[in-house]
Amino acid sequence: MAEEKKGRALATKAAASIPKFVRGNLAATIKAKEEGKKVAYAYIADGQDEIMRAMDIVPAWGESFAGVCAAKRDAEKYLQKAESDNFSRSLCTYATCTIGFDMIRSELGVDIVPDAPWGGMGRPDMILGSAQLLCDPRFKWPQATQHYLRDVPIFVGAMYYPPFDPKLNHHEQEKFYVKYCTEELRECVKFCEKHTGKKMDWDRLAEIVELSDKTWDLFIDTYELRKAIPTPMDTGDAMNTMVPLTFNLGTQEAYDFYKQLYDELQEKVKNKEGVVEPEKYRLIWAAGLPSWFALGDFQYFNSKGATFPVEVTYRGCEKIERLELPKTSDPLEHIAWRWVRYWTHWYDKARKRPGSLPKVERIIEYIEEYKCDGVVFHSAFSCRSWHAGIIHQAETLKKVYKEIPILILEGDIVDISSYNEADTHNRIDAFIEAVDAYKSRMG
């Protein structure tokens, strides 16, 4: 039987309301049929959120469902199922978890998979892939899923952004990438129109995009309250509070959630209410998806007087004005600019520091602004595309910035067999001692 971990204490009331959000998103995929709505398998940071919302397509997020399975320590049955059809354990476990889930659905010939954590995902009417992260599973995962859902049509778009090259002026190239992304989004709209039988309401889309922009701004304003000492919220909570931005972008509920969180954090800052008392060490979660089955490790950090006022992971937005987006009346082009600039707006800064990288520049900016004493990365073995560069980032950070203590945790997002709590805690203990020594050296 699945082993469920006991609940984790959260610092904010808003974060505690997130499970309801996630359950609601999953339930919506099951209720959609009754409401005459279409369900689409969707993948995070796809740039297609607003298109789906404008066309009343209900997204079923694979990463979210796999994360729920992992957090409930109930993913093994799906991983094993996928493995039985030769999907290697070293593949992305978000992908293999949901593929295993759909294999069971297809074998049983049912729409609703029995015994799925939180009811599972409803059967999709379409698969909307987006391969912009240069990650092979982002192409292959939707295709492999279709193998078990033969009748479900699939669209895999790609939202690329210019690669960083210190010798190249990316501003020249940006517009070509934006053009490409816009066309991809246009194809996505056509695909959705075909499979919903509805026409896109462009005014509605423009309104939704505007709401997303407002949500991006509010998200950053809210998270910047965490610069306070002591910080009112840490990454342990942020791994929950990312849900509305990541999975509900373009909805009023997402905006309202961050308004509620903003008010709560403001109150905490006013009352100097921190995550830990006393706050001895401030850390940055510099990269890496978390081990969803071991989120309690954030509390282990907290028990040592350490908090994370900032993280790179799931901070998938920026204040719109900082991106200096060109004006356009085409909402799809606006989404494309927002997407490309989200990545490239660190490029100029990185170019100014010889040897640096945009991702490292971002970490440096956060270390300075959030007054961090140490850096934590999590290298999840099954996510090669995102985690392969972690050691390079850590080395570059030391080279171009300073000898700040760095911890690289090793594990996975879903596969618990990669995890050993005692060893992880031992590493955290040693790291905290190193941070303590660093702080005393720095005075």
Binding site: R427, D429, A430, F431, E433, A434
Partner: protein, 280 residues
């Protein structure tokens, strides 16, 4: 009046105790094996006898190593990473990078003024640890302590391509059957461990001097293989097994004296010299 401090390092295969004043008074390396792990008190007793002092003479005790939280008579626990750095620095102050090859894990530690700057660890896989060599020694029937010296007579290291310990054991048996010499095989085993350890330690950007500690440091063949992989010479401290316990004892002294300077007394464990409760 002379003050005494103790460091207890409960590793995966050995228990080490160092009694320190302003110099090392006694060092003891205790027996291995699961039934012995809980008997840290016995190892401590031996160390006290050697130093000719009583338990009550100890002003402060620090436990380290993977079993550190289970030493009831220790006043404080500090990780082996910090203790290794401190212990090695007290013996060899020019060392900036430590490679520790223990029974169940291996680590790389970068130090500055005796304090840890960064570290890496392999605690996930037996390959790249002393355990790998131990298992291979068993399968070829050579005593562990002879592995190092025998490997020096190899003509050419036989490459071991499997990184998984179980498969590597199989590969070695096959190679043996097909006529590979024992020295060549042992040299191949050392090369395999050195490759994995050096790949891990290189993540730290190695700075010289480099020292090796832990059981692996007692294996001359492994040290030579590691030197080749890291491309620099490696210092082996006189007793590479006790650096963690030594560091713990030096830290015990430093912490105690810091309290004293601040006019305070450190909190002490209320337990006497009793055995650990857990390892049953």
């Amino acid at each position: 009046m002379k003050r005494y401090f103790a460091g207890v390092d409960i590793g995966s295969t050995m228990t080490k105790v160092v009694i320190f004043s302003d110099r090392i008074e006694a060092t003891i390396i205790g027996p291995t094996g699961p039934e012995h792990r809980k008997l840290a008190n016995k190892v401590m007793e031996e160390a006290l006898n050697l130093a000719q002092i009583r338990f009550e003479n100890l002003s402060y005790i620090i436990a380290t190593g993977y079993g550190r939280i289970n030493v009831p008579f220790a006043d404080r626990q500090i990780t082996e990473i910090t203790c290794h750095a401190k212990g090695l620095h007290s013996l060899l102050p020019t060392v900036k990078t430590i490679v520790d090859i223990g029974g169940q894990d291996s680590k790389g530690i970068k130090i500055k003024d005796g304090k840890v700057v960064s570290f890496v660890m392999n605690d996930k896989c037996a390959a790249g640890t002393g355990r790998f060599i131990e298992i291979m020694a068993d399968s070829i029937g050579v005593p562990l302590e002879d592995m190092g010296i025998i490997s020096l007579t190899a003509e050419k290291a036989a490459p071991i391509s499997s990184t998984c310990t179980v498969f590597a054991e199989h590969e070695i048996i096959n190679k043996l059957a097909s006529g590979e010499t024992i020295p060549n095989l042992i040299a191949g085993i050392h090369e395999s461990v050195a490759t994995r350890v050096s790949a891990m330690v290189k993540k730290l950007t190695i700075e010289q001097d480099v020292a090796v500690t832990g059981g692996g440091a007692k294996n001359i063949g492994l040290v030579k293989a590691l030197e080749k992989k890291l491309g620099c010479s490696i210092i082996v401290p006189p007793e590479p097994l006790i650096t963690g316990a030594l560091g713990a004892s030096v830290l015990a002294k430093e912490i105690f004296e810091k309290y004293e300077r601040e006019g305070q007394m450190p909190v002490r464990s209320s337990c006497g010299l009793q055995e650990a409760k857990i390892f049953s």
